[in-house]
């Protein structure tokens, strides 16, 4: 009787132990994410819909119902979209150049990508203000060369904003694309060409689809970084280009309207989550 029952009790703890081990591994990160991320999110959501009188959607009505704040949302989206598109157009060929480079050149190029990540965004944005000021290096040089007489207004323009944002977020587009391109087997393109595909057809039907996962990762990263950027618009364009991020800061720091700031935060988060979810969906393998 006892013998017959033996295998089951022996097997069961083994499985349980495995599961316990797995839970043990997951637990710390779960606690951290729950405590540091999920809980504040729930609080944020709560603050945005609850005021002294109870449940209210006034904050959202104000945000999504006033032309001014719709403009703010549009500013954020515009910053995100322009930065992402331009960063992609620069990064895609750059990633191929990087993958084709060999030896010392490749190391130098990779270092120029990685090193700026070590500097804070504030430092980089501030560096751009020094470059683009009316008495900045760019204007001084152009005047010295006699190309212009009076300084061109560069700082506090949308151009300055986009140039700075693209520069600062560029590594987050190049690196994921480069990671895919570097692994891309050149045989795919060769196979396509022997099957009769011209270089252009090969690019659109083979290279582009095969590098899509890198593009999607880069786009998701750069868009969520730039749509929510705070330092970059604050330093490079300022008051006249309010974004969701600067609006949140103002609501908390100046206007003392935590409910409204929370609502803006939720909308910004919603935009970022939508983009990430969409890209996760796109990068899933076709069935």
């Amino acid at each position: 009787m006892t013998e017959a029952a033996l295998p089951a009790p022996v097997a069961a703890p083994a499985v349980d132990r495995e599961r316990l081990t797995a839970i043990g591994f997951v637990l710390p990160s779960f606690v951290i994410i729950a405590g540091v991320f999920a809980l504040p999110l729930v609080l944020l959501l709560g603050v945005s819909v609850i005021d002294a009188n109870g449940l209210t959607f006034a904050n959202y009505r104000r945000l999504l119902g006033t032309p001014y704040y719709l403009g703010v949302i549009w500013n954020s989206l515009r910053l995100g979209l322009l930065t992402t598109i331009i960063a992609f157009l620069i990064s895609y060929p750059a990633a191929f150049a990087l993958a084709r480079a060999h030896g010392a050149l490749r190391s130098v190029l990779l270092a120029t990508l990685f090193l700026p990540l070590a500097a804070s965004v504030i430092v980089k944005a501030f560096a751009w203000t020094i470059l683009l000021r009316s008495d900045g290096i760019v204007n001084e040089t152009l005047i010295a060369l006699g190309i212009i007489e009076d300084p061109i207004r560069m700082i506090f323009t949308e151009t300055a904003l986009i140039v700075g944002a693209v520069n600062i977020f560029l590594p987050f587009m190049i690196l994921p694309i480069y990671a895919i391109v570097a692994q891309l087997d050149p045989r795919y393109a060769e196979a396509a060409s022997t099957l009769g595909a011209s270089p252009i057809v090969t690019f659109f039907h083979v290279i582009l689809p095969l590098t899509l996962p890198g593009i999607i990762a880069g786009v998701a990263l750069v868009f969520s970084l730039s749509v929510s950027a705070y330092v970059v618009p604050t330093l490079l364009i300022g008051e006249k280009y309010p974004t969701l991020a600067t609006t949140i800061a103002k609501a908390y720091l100046l206007a003392r309207e935590p409910g409204f700031g929370a609502a803006a935060g939720v909308v910004l988060l919603g935009i970022a989550i939508a983009v990430v979810a969409l890209s996760a969906r796109l990068s899933r393998e076709p069935k």
């Binding site: 087997d185 045989r187 795919y188 060769e190 196979a191 396509a192 060409s193 022997t194 099957l195 009769g196 595909a197 011209s198 270089p199 057809v201 090969t202 039907h205 083979v206 689809p209 095969l210 899509l212 393998e285 076709p286 069935k287």
Partner: protein
């Protein structure tokens, strides 16, 4: 076009990578419908020659003609050459059918025609039931077939296989060799296989080109290649042999007498007296005992390897020379290790090669 007309002509192609000459004035003519194998050790330039034919590598000099057209400077996508890569290079973002349809799609073939051609190609390789599968969900053997179907679907003028079977396990590879040959003959394809596997070369091809250091040493039918190797390299690379070094004593009209450490031997070959040579014979030519008008040598049996229908006997003939004989039970008892035996073989099956040609 008649069956014997040259279909693919490679004229004196050369290619260097830096200081190394990878292809050294290669000439190769292949008839329509012929299956030819490039056989040679790793690094001898087989892949480079194939890539030059496909247009994936530009030769430094020489010409390539295909189906009566000079394609030396034609880009790969306008050559109509099919390639089956060693790694298959199937497009992972497309299904099996999508891969097979690719070549027709980029040619702008009508959808109805594409569907029919894909179905035909997949049924040829017996994969019709997997048309909708993803590539990552296929076994190695199935991927090999898809790569083949993709290449033949566009009906290329010549099909090139670069070690296309080498990733398969042995049993599957041997099955595929036979099946592939039959299939290519059925569709009347002209094909070049690249391999370093002599069995594959002998099984699959009408003719074999033995390559060494960027040159074709011999281009011959498998049987002739085995029976009449043109060089020591070809002799060594295809099949087994007994090889004994010596010096030519006397030469007479295509025949030489050679002094070796195992005695005086006669062989076919044109040399001047005094030339250092290697005398060689295939193992199945060696018989136990004496024969009249034949070469012979004696020694002690070093090893006996039973291989089913035949037994390989290696004999230590002294002075560092050894004899390799392939004996059959039918012709008498097989000697045992340490037996002292004498072996003999016909002069007409003995060849002399120049010593310095040894690789």
């Amino acid at each position: 076009m008649s069956g014997a007309a040259p279909h693919l002509v490679v004229r004196s192609i050369s290619k260097r990578y830096g200081p190394t000459t990878v292809l050294d004035h290669i000439d190769l003519t292949i008839r329509r419908g012929e299956l030819v194998t490039l056989l040679g050790p790793s690094g001898c330039g087989k892949t480079t020659l194939l890539r030059a034919i496909a247009g994936l590598a530009q030769p430094d000099s020489g010409k390539v003609e295909l189906a009566g057209r000079d394609i030396t400077h034609v880009p790969p996508h306008k050559r109509n050459v099919g390639v089956v890569f060693q790694s298959y290079a199937l497009f992972p973002h497309l299904t099996v059918a999508g891969n097979v349809a690719f070549g027709l799609k980029v040619r702008g073939t009508a959808r109805r025609e594409i569907n029919a051609a894909v179905e035909r190609a997949l049924s040829l390789v017996k994969l019709g039931h997997l048309a909708g599968r993803r590539i990552s969900a296929l076994s190695g053997g199935q991927q090999q077939r898809v790569a083949l179907a993709r290449a033949i679907a566009v009906e290329p003028d010549v099909l090139l296989f670069d070690e296309a079977l080498s990733a398969l396990d042995r049993k599957l590879r041997e099955e595929m060799q036979v099946e592939l040959r039959r299939l290519l003959q059925d569709v009347k394809a002209t094909a070049i296989f690249v391999t370093h596997d002599q069995d594959e070369a002998l099984t699959m091809s009408d003719r074999v080109a033995v390559m060494n250091k960027g040159r074709i040493e011999q281009l011959a039918e498998p049987r002739e290649l085995y029976l009449r190797p043109a060089s020591l390299f070809a002799l060594n690379f295809v099949g087994l042999s007994t090889r004994i070094s010596g010096t030519v004593l006397a030469a007479d009209n295509g025949k030489v007498d050679v002094e070796t450490k195992v005695g005086r031997l006669s062989a076919l070959g044109n040399f001047q007296a005094g030339s250092p040579v290697i005398v060689a014979a295939r193992p199945e030519q060696l018989r136990l005992g004496e024969q009249s008008e034949a070469n012979s040598a004696a020694g002690r049996v070093r090893s006996v390897v039973f291989q089913g229908s035949r037994t390989l006997v290696e004999v230590d003939a002294g002075a560092g020379e050894s004899l390799l004989a392939e004996l059959s039970e039918r012709d008498g008892a097989i000697p045992r290790v340490h037996d002292e035996i004498r072996l003999s073989w016909p002069v007409t099956e003995t060849f002399a090669f120049p010593m310095e040609a040894q690789a």
